[in-house]
Subunit: 464 residues, 2 copies
């Protein structure tokens, strides 16, 4: 948890932004409950709501809070541990002292939260809330509001004000992101040292997750570790590592303060790239470097994506996998066949930062319209960059048989894509290379102190 002044300032800023936008009424914040894995009392490791953490910091279940936009009053609602529970839980600090620890002077039992919200509504005052990201929070809103379609009542003014703040990381947050980066880099190093033919993928995943649990909260998202990198949503780890494959490892750590890291490296399973693998790998590595080199305040990440895809097409053209005018291919979105996802996303307390608040509200400026092209249309972060943004830089090239067949059948990419030559790549797999990047005053820097080897020679040496 940060110093209480951090939270006080953030809440004051939020309330000021709301008032500037003409909002009145009561802002409400619902912290997370424990999430049962099996039965009610056997839960997953507790993960607090990220927006709650940002404004209130308290990393415990069953908290709620209100900020009154008229009076400025802030109240935290939670139940003190009962005397009977002290036998089981040991002595616990009071809710009041916990609230004071984040600069909130007023606290009340959890049940008073419902009462406060209902009274506010009955007085005809506006209640501002954000989109619930969990079933528990949705149930709570349904109960509080007496309506099932809670999404329809989400406060856009509150959502936008929160996004505008969380998009720009403070120094104390950047330190935590660097720390999560260090932990994520250790995860990947442990993995790289364990990769060899004959090992079960799950064995390596366990080693990696153990690192994150020793040093932090755990993984910032379910680890991807696959010899089928062309399957983008692949969370199975049931295969034995085979020689001659490419192993995509996309994994990150969440620190105890809940800031994330998110890195991808692609390793030759036997320790050496084949010439064919190295050709594609080099293109992806150059794209990763190129995107980083043009990332700076003032450019949009949409532009960085598009220009990086241009470099990718140039590389693929040199291998005769695509043909013709690069400008035309950029306009047509031909790169989407090879990289159907976006170049990157915001990262912070969530690995896809604030995704529950709405992808377009988070990642697009008001003057930007999201593309419908494959690839560019999946771009989660398109905004004009400002100092303090933290984003991922993760170009990839994949040979997805179902997608290639679809384009060929539909005539998409016709005249540009060399479908004949692609036949030799159906069992290639995929390559992705990802770093986390902080936009600085005059450019950018990668977060985490020990950048993972990325040049193919360095990767081979590290595995040797």
């Amino acid at each position: 948890m940060f110093d209480k002044r951090v939270y006080i300032t953030r809440r004051q800023t939020l309330a000021a932004k709301m008032r500037e936008a003409g909002a009145e009424g009561l802002m409400i914040f619902i912290g997370n409950a424990e999430a049962p894995a099996q039965y009610k009392d056997n839960c997953y490791k507790f993960r607090q709501d990220s927006t709650w953490l940002y404004y209130f910091g308290i990393d415990q279940p069953m908290y709620a809070a209100t900020i009154d936009l008229e009076s400025g009053a802030e109240t935290i609602f939670a139940d003190d541990v009962e005397i009977g529970d002290i036998i089981w839980m040991g002595p616990q600090p009071s809710v009041q002292s916990i609230a004071e620890g984040v600069g909130v002077g007023s606290s009340a039992p959890y049940g008073k939260f419902d009462e406060t919200v209902r009274t506010t509504l009955s007085l005809g005052r506006k209640v501002h809330y954000i989109n619930p990201s969990r079933y528990f929070n949705r149930l709570r809103l349904m109960e509080l509001l007496g309506r099932a379609d809670v999404e329809a009542g989400v406060s856009e003014v509150m959502t936008k004000a929160i996004i505008s703040m969380r998009l720009v990381k403070e120094q104390c947050e950047i330190e935590e992101i660097d720390a999560a980066g260090e932990l994520g880099q250790r995860m990947h190093t442990v993995a790289r040292n364990a990769v060899r033919p004959g090992v079960l993928e799950q064995d390596i995943v366990g080693l990696m997750e153990g690192v994150t649990l020793s040093g932090g909260w755990g993984v910032s998202f379910p680890t991807i570790l696959t010899q089928h990198g062309e399957t983008l949503h692949n969370h199975l780890h049931d295969k034995i590592i085979e020689p001659g494959r490419l192993l995509v490892i996309d994994a990150g750590a969440e620190g105890n303060s809940h800031y994330a890291s998110d890195f991808t490296r692609t390793l030759p399973t036997g320790g050496k790239f084949t010439p064919k693998q190295r050709d594609i790998y080099e293109i992806v590595a150059r794209c990763n470097e190129f995107a980083f080199s043009i990332t700076r305040p003032g450019i949009t990440y949409r532009e960085v994506h598009i220009e990086t895809m241009r470099r990718m097409l140039e590389g693929l053209k040199a291998l005769d996998l695509v043909r013709g005018s690069i400008d035309d291919m950029v306009a047509e979105g031909t790169a989407g066949l090879f990289c159907p996802h976006g170049l990157g996303h915001n990262m912070g307390l969530d690995v896809h930062d604030m995704e529950d608040l709405g992808e377009n509200l988070v990642g697009y400026d008001p003057d930007q319209v999201r593309s419908t092209q494959l690839g560019l249309g999946s771009l989660r972060m398109a905004r004009r960059l400002v100092s303090g943004n933290v984003i991922t830089d993760e170009p990839g090239i994949y040979f997805i048989p179902a997608l290639i067949d679809k384009w060929k059948a539909e005539g998409t990419g016709k005249g540009f894509v060399n479908f004949d030559k692609l036949k030799g790549y159906y069992d290639f797999g995929g390559i992705r290379l990802e770093d986390d990047v902080l936009v600085t005053e005059d450019g950018a820097r990668r977060t985490g102190p020990n950048r993972l080897p990325i040049e193919p020679d360095d990767v081979e040496q590290a595995m040797g």
Copy 2:
């Protein structure tokens, strides 16, 4: 997953039990959804509902099923992966083929499940469902039934029929419990090898959880690893290991098939017990062994608990921590001051098996009334044992300052408890020793192939 005949037989048995009990109508089963950790698409590792796993085996989210008690018809409801998703997820088997894999011939899209349930209700037929253990399942039931108080409609006949089956483990289940035991025993061995003064508790927890993730689904419950064993619900791991303390490690593994293990050992942090620690440790170790020695078909686990507490009181009396008639202390529940929890619980697909179905329905025979005494009242498994029960054997002795002070102030245990001598134990902590036990035809055996060292000399040697 087991052979399809296992699931076919279980469902037939369940339907037969329902009909024998005079039940009519439709049984419904709601599998789990993904559980978001942060935003909707960043989820905890998927954990299927245990009752679903028992009858349908399919370890994937967003499945549901019905069994019609009149026609005998079984249907599985889930959505096939759409062509667009194959690009991201790779080719996937059809729902129909997955259903056939567990012996269900009929499948339909997920939306048809809602339609089927609503039609059944509108015809005035009974719909049988069990208590939902997750917020998602509760929401689903609210939607299906059009009522908020879904607990009030839970089918007791279905609940009891399921409990009667899951309480008695089949051979294929016992093999999985032994495998989870092996994994849990490896967890504890890794921990024991890492314990020494100066190490952060969280470092050891990460090592242990890494083992479970490499070899299985993960932990079967959040690991307890604490130098304050007297705090029974303690999931913090933020302390440095100090010399001269007792470290309680209560942890288990869940295999990839989702069967659990659950072991507790208490280690001297510096590798050697002090004489004072050893005196208490010996009592707990003797209780663990005694309980195991009398566990057999025909005895109730309530009796095993009570007789074990008698041995505990004898040991405490020899140390002059309690005084007077053992029979009187047993009757008064004096052992509850030292062991405020029960001797053990059922274990299977859940580590507290079926706890979501109702503790008393699961753990108590119809002729048994749950005690209100501290300790015995917390006993989760009291039933008359039968071959195939899997239970834990976990006596403990704790010195809980808040509880000792409470008893003294209230006069509880007066004349029995030597409160003066207990003053020397306020910083002792606690000791618990737990094995998992299968009730056999003629007695019992401990599950997991490599019983963890428990005799104090063996523990010291293993740490040496």
